[in-house]
Symmetry: C2
């Protein structure tokens, strides 16, 4: 999942490439953190564990899994590290033992929507701080339960920091300059892998901001691209990213056609979400170190904390 | 100047075109306004006068001009309306007389950078409220002088409302989420008519926000496109807009190349700036009606006032 985006208009760059430094900077502040990534049998858990290792974070060699996983294997491999699979039948005992061995234990969860309530119950019961990227469930109920428990947590349905920043920024624009795009026409196109049947939640949230900016538009007008041929030819998705991408284009054109604004955010694979999850874990470890009165956070909180770097 | 932008990626739209309504809405609130547009011998003044007529604003049939203009003509034509040219030699007497005939007189200025200080002196001396779109001069000195005079004014180097909103929004993002794009590479390309020799001021302002967002970049790295061939082939500027356009593309790519953000704002001709100027004049007339304590405004104030519509 390290493909280069092919950018049709501005294809080359004068700027010398540089590697991502933000996590390294945060890690150098050394919040005490021992990270246990659950569901490492899944692709997202695997990606987060790999991102944690790249960031120099201590990875706890255990991972919660489903009963079916342990029927075939006792461990899962992450970048050469064997993690012991912990099924539901033993997880309560194992986690209590791990809390003793890893005093700065923090968990990451990317289980399935169906499991989200039982996982939240589990983290609250054992009072293990956690970062929850899993979607679904009764979000208001989960937030209320976690907040009341005072267990430290970051809960966010999208861990892509820059995408969350963009979405929040469009909301800031709408709140600051209501009606500024009055008289404009909007077109929204999003492309995702064909297994995604519903409309992009990010696109729906951004459209709401454009409506507040004065543009009449209904989320049903968002155009969904799910056919590989159109994804490659129209959206310029690389062939090897057809099964894992999130491309969004928002285009605003003035009534007389003389002004055009276009916003795009195109993501390939899981790397950015995995890195954002590790950023969230480092942020939460810092909040625990600081013994913060506030215990429940989202990605906006993680982004705002950028000021501390 | 009514060319349609040709949008390469999303070329058609499901949305029914609708005309621009914001000015009509503002005009329906009927602030008392009699608009005198100076420099109607120039292209920008002409465009503003036309936009005022389209918005149903009363146009005062006089316009300040340079001495050379009156050597050849006594009037200038704006959409069938003859405006009497007023040279510097008679302008003091004429304006005092017009103030009596037009109690809600408000002036718009798009003269030359060289003339800006003498024009500001003129408006302050006669205490005529004004909207100043002229660039250049000592901006701090002008602001201090106008503020001290308590003459009502909107002063802004860019009257394109949506462009100003975009620029302010990038600043909001930088202030809210500093460092959020740490590790990203930036590329900025701007295309303007070949007569524009310097780098786009808007691009320079937006780049400053990206720097605060964690992207190392110097304004000298902004790529200027001034050759018609490249403008048409690379930037997709329509052939008939080569002599009057402002195209900007900002592209952010993550260190590993899996995430790309792109922001574009492409303007053809002067219509959007002319309409923004009329919006500013309507806004200022409303502030005068309200006898507001604050007297000096910029386009951000005009945009924020959108909340009142």
């Amino acid at each position: 999942m390290q493909q280069q985006l092919r950018c049709s208009r501005v294809a080359s760059s004068r700027i010398t490439p540089r590697t991502r430094t933000s996590m390294v900077v945060m890690a150098s502040a050394k919040p005490k953190l021992q990270l246990m990534v659950n569901s490492c049998t899944g692709k997202m858990g695997q990606a987060v564990a790999e991102a944690a290792l790249r960031a120099g974070v201590e990875l706890v060699p255990y991972t919660l899994c489903g009963p079916a996983d342990v029927a075939t294997n006792a461990t899962v491999n992450v970048a050469g590290h064997a993690l012991t699979l912990v099924p539901p039948s033993t997880r309560d005992a194992v986690v209590e033992e791990l809390k003793g061995r890893y005093p700065h234990l923090l968990m990451v969860d990317y289980t399935l929507p169906d499991a989200i309530h039982s996982m939240v119950d589990f983290y609250v019961k054992h009072r293990t701080p956690f970062v929850m990227g899993t979607t679904g469930g009764d979000r208001a109920k989960i937030a209320a339960q976690v907040e009341a428990s005072k267990v430290y947590a970051v809960i966010a349905p999208n861990m892509g920091k820059q995408i969350v920043a963009f979405q929040a920024t469009m909301d800031l624009m709408a709140k600051s300059f209501p009606g500024a795009f009055s008289g404009y026409k909007l077109r929204v196109v999003e492309s995702h892998q064909s297994t995604k049947k519903d409309t992009s939640g990010t696109a729906k949230a951004v459209v709401q901001s454009f409506v507040e900016l004065g543009v009449p538009f209904d989320v049903s007008q968002i155009e969904l691209v799910r056919e590989p041929k159109a994804q490659m030819e129209v959206m310029k998705v690389p062939a090897d990213a057809i099964n894992g991408h999130a491309y969004h284009t928002y285009q605003l054109v003035s009534g007389d056609g003389t002004v055009m604004f276009e916003f795009q955010h195109n993501v390939i694979g899981r790397t950015t979400y995995a890195e954002g999850t590790v950023d969230a874990a480092l942020f939460l470890a810092g909040r625990i170190d600081a013994n913060d009165d506030k215990t429940l956070y989202n990605m906006i909180d993680v982004l705002r904390a950028g000021a501390m770097r």
